[in-house]
Symmetry: C2
Subunit: 512 residues, 2 copies
């Protein structure tokens, strides 16, 4: 039985496949002292249209460097959905002499197409493995199962991938038996840990005759993550007396635990629910890591997905009570508070102006203004509204939600249900339509705005930008640009902002 | 099949059984909407000689308040090792009318003694459960197994407790079968999560006929923690269609996740190793949560425990190369750097003085002084020494370790092995002998000190004291007091310190 560690490849989902050189070197060194047979160091890929880093492309100098340091067999993986047989030579020739095994991640729906890529890879002399996804849904896919025997003679390993992290040991046993009836190659198992079943599923796979299993240090990997290499080795050490150098192991674990503090992989309630119900964790990962949606929102969205509805209530469609020439959009950044006196003076000096709170975070500072106020409720924003306004005593605003159907469950506090509406559409973009910014901008249009002034969109310091902040910044910059492009409206950021390429003026220049 | 949530009881190990009122109220409220049958809210106990909080004693007002809020059955637990049959009436009478079930935590070695406590509890009219520990070791304990039938007719539930978190599903199945042959009452299962097997073990217990199982929110509980309530409910929801209010569930999970950020329960490599080898996790919990020992040290200590040795090498016993009238002890606090110029001036002005580095953290600031220097190496301090001195080029110090046998594996950098010694004894205390402070103080004695001056023992701000800092402060205050009491030596803290009741002077008052 062999073990493959794919920390760099699967962990890259959290770092866009960039890792510090020192971390990689320590990782490779540690595994020179550990009973693991293969290291999968990343992808090889055609150029993509978004940024992915070093270990997504594994250029030759990376292959060389790691080959030199490592005493283990090395693997890389191809995404079958993005790679055709004709691409194989150009992508893989640089791997010859450095890489021992090519794995191909295969959607069962594309199994037949994958066979021709496999033939090409095989002819280049690599060991070859298929990592076939969505094993919890195979038994309903007669067509795929019928094709299986065509892979005979072509593959070294055929992997069962528990993509959703939702299979149980008994499923593993049955699926291996089913595959073994149709296929003569060795069997692999790649588990995910949504339900904390990765270890027992992997041990069950081994006991059912699997020849190779995957794991990653600290479980680093997409969504809830993988079987933890340290857990597998510890279990095999005590159970089967596998010799493990625990000092080497704990060194590499410590390194990745530091990364984990930053990125926070591992299972949690939303991942458990998506796993248990075989729902894709791509959205969940985005919601959990990027958007700060509450668990409640995520759970409701998952329940909606499970029952096939995207949202569980139609709301009255928003119609502007009157038109406003000008709109002030208030974001959640500190400058909306720091400069609130000036901004309020500005509002008082204008006629025909209203306020849209993109986030409720700073709303309290503006509650005493007598102009009409609108509140954007995306995802869990209703909970924030509740906290900010406590008993809603003199709350007079209207609440606006994204158009139906909404992916993300939406919480509406009881006290404001009467004055809550959904937009009919968001028409200046078809991306990021469930964000505060898209909602606030579209609402401005519905309100008839000819001019928009903005506060509390502070952006972030370039020098200390985290991954999350960078992605939020890029999203907002995109939305503002798309909006200005589409509507040619006079937009001004009137308090300090780090956003780039957008029109700025100072609120103080408007005051007398 | 019933579910018992024991978050407050088992989670209390991390908070000394104190929880914020609001947290408890939200917890109770959430479970009024969740399919869980019992809430175990804490211990009842005779007075202990260390501090344990509200939910360790569960005074009447607590019982009343929770009974009023909760629509669930309530349980408390007794520690059999600290409670005799004669204590039962006084401990439990206040529970009458509030608490439905009394559970008793039983060491199999005391099973027979526990039966008389059980009879007393039973006679008071409570439902009664035995939570019998160490199930991974029962099969070797003929005596205990022979006594089992004596509990017939006495208990409502007999729990298997996987104290070490090291059993596998097959063990659960076999142990339940074994117990069922000897005992007629209902069976319970309480799993720990060291190997992430708590869910599968619990589901296996249910499938093997267990009538009640335990879980805690976010797995909060001693050491690696328990089966997560949210995981159990999610699995039973998808597997058996148990109706779960995921909004209530995610609310309570969010609350405890905030606590978890502070206390950090959950499994990790040391807990995995202790679980897989049925080693007690009491030490591991102390090492992981309090002492900041490296994983390497902990793993080595666990390997030592497993193979029955406490340390793997005898070192030469330290004998002072000469006697010094005065010793400067340098701790790891920032004031040893902030005031280092003054402290160095002081050292230069003295005759017959040497330096003991209790921690190597600040050692570099003092390396140019020409006096003799000694380095205390406890646990993983050798790694720190290595980082501080890099290649050890002109390192001339001697390293001192605690006496043999040492609980905690000790790492000695190769470059300093020649000049490394262990103390013969630590004689002014028998507590905390493996701490930096104990080692530094005892070394002062071995060096003949008549006067000790101290820097870098800054202590912590009372107002922002964390649990960990409080405990380290208390330890150090205790050690200094015990030392001064035992040796009547002139001790002075010469840079600012928050330690209380210890002799302080200013280094500046000694300079001319």
């Amino acid at each position: 039985m062999k073990i493959l560690d794919c920390t760099l490849r699967d962990g890259g989902y959290y770092t866009q496949w960039d890792f510090e050189n020192e971390l990689v070197q320590n990782y490779i060194d540690a595994f020179n002292h550990l009973p693991v047979d293969y290291l999968e160091i990343g992808y090889r890929s055609n150029a993509m249209t978004e940024y992915f880093g070093e270990y997504f492309y594994c250029p030759t100098y990376v292959l060389e460097k790691i080959r030199q340091q490592s005493q283990r067999k090395l693997a890389i993986i191809l995404n079958e959905k993005d790679v055709r047989a004709v691409d194989a030579r150009s992508l893989l020739s640089p791997c010859l002499g450095y890489i021992d095994m090519i794995r191909i991640a295969v959607d069962p729906a594309n199994f037949k197409r994958a066979l021709s890529l496999a033939e090409e890879v095989r002819s280049m002399g690599f060991e070859l493995s298929f990592n076939v996804m969505y094993m919890s849904k195979w038994s309903g896919n007669k067509c795929f199962l019928d094709f299986l025997p065509e892979a005979n003679g072509l593959l070294d390993y055929f992997y069962l991938v528990d993509s959703y992290g939702g299979v149980y040991p008994e499923d593993v046993r049955q699926t291996i038996d089913m595959v073994k009836e149709k296929l003569e190659c060795k069997i692999g198992f790649h588990g995910h840990n949504n339900l904390e079943l990765a270890l027992i599923n992997t041990l069950t796979a081994i006991d059912s005759g699997a020849d190779i299993v995957d794991a990653t240090i600290t479980g680093m990997g997409r969504g809830a993550g993988n079987l933890k290499t340290e857990l597998l080795l510890t279990a095999l050490n005590s159970r089967d007396n596998l010799q493990v150098n625990f000092n080497a192991l704990s060194n590499v674990v410590s390194d990745f635990e530091k990364l984990q503090e930053q990125h926070g992989w591992g299972t949690n309630l939303p991942y458990m629910v998506s796993g248990a119900n075989s729902l894709p964790q791509k959205n969940v990962m985005e919601w959990v890591t990027q958007r700060f949606y509450s668990f409640n929102s995520i759970i409701r969205a998952l329940q909606n997905q499970k029952s096939g509805v995207q949202d569980n209530e139609h709301l009255p469609v928003f119609e502007a009570p009157k038109k406003y020439r000008q709109v002030l959009i208030v974001g959640g950044g500190p400058n909306a508070i720091k400069h609130s006196q000036a901004v309020q003076e500005y509002v008082k000096s204008q006629e025909d102006i209203c306020i849209i709170h993109a986030s409720s975070k700073n709303a309290k500072a503006y509650r005493d203004l007598s102009v009409d106020q609108f509140f954007c409720l995306v995802g869990s924003e209703g909970h924030r509204l509740e906290k900010v306004f406590e008993d809603f005593g003199d709350f007079k605003g209207a609440c606006i939600l994204p158009p139906f159907p909404r992916k993300m469950g939406t919480y509406i506090p009881d006290a404001v249900k009467k004055g809550t509406y959904e937009l009919a559409k968001i028409d200046f973009t078809n991306k990021l339509t469930d964000t505060h910014t898209a909602l606030a901008l579209q609402t401005s249009i519905e309100l008839g705005a000819e001019k928009i002034v903005i506060t509390g969109y502070d952006g972030y310091q370039e020098s200390t930008l985290t991954q999350l902040e960078r992605s939020l910044s890029e999203e907002n910059e995109y939305l503002f640009s798309a909006f200005i492009e589409a509507y040619k409206i006079d937009v001004k950021f009137i308090t300090p902002t780090n956003y780039k390429g957008l029109p700025v003026s100072s609120v103080y220049s408007f005051l007398t």
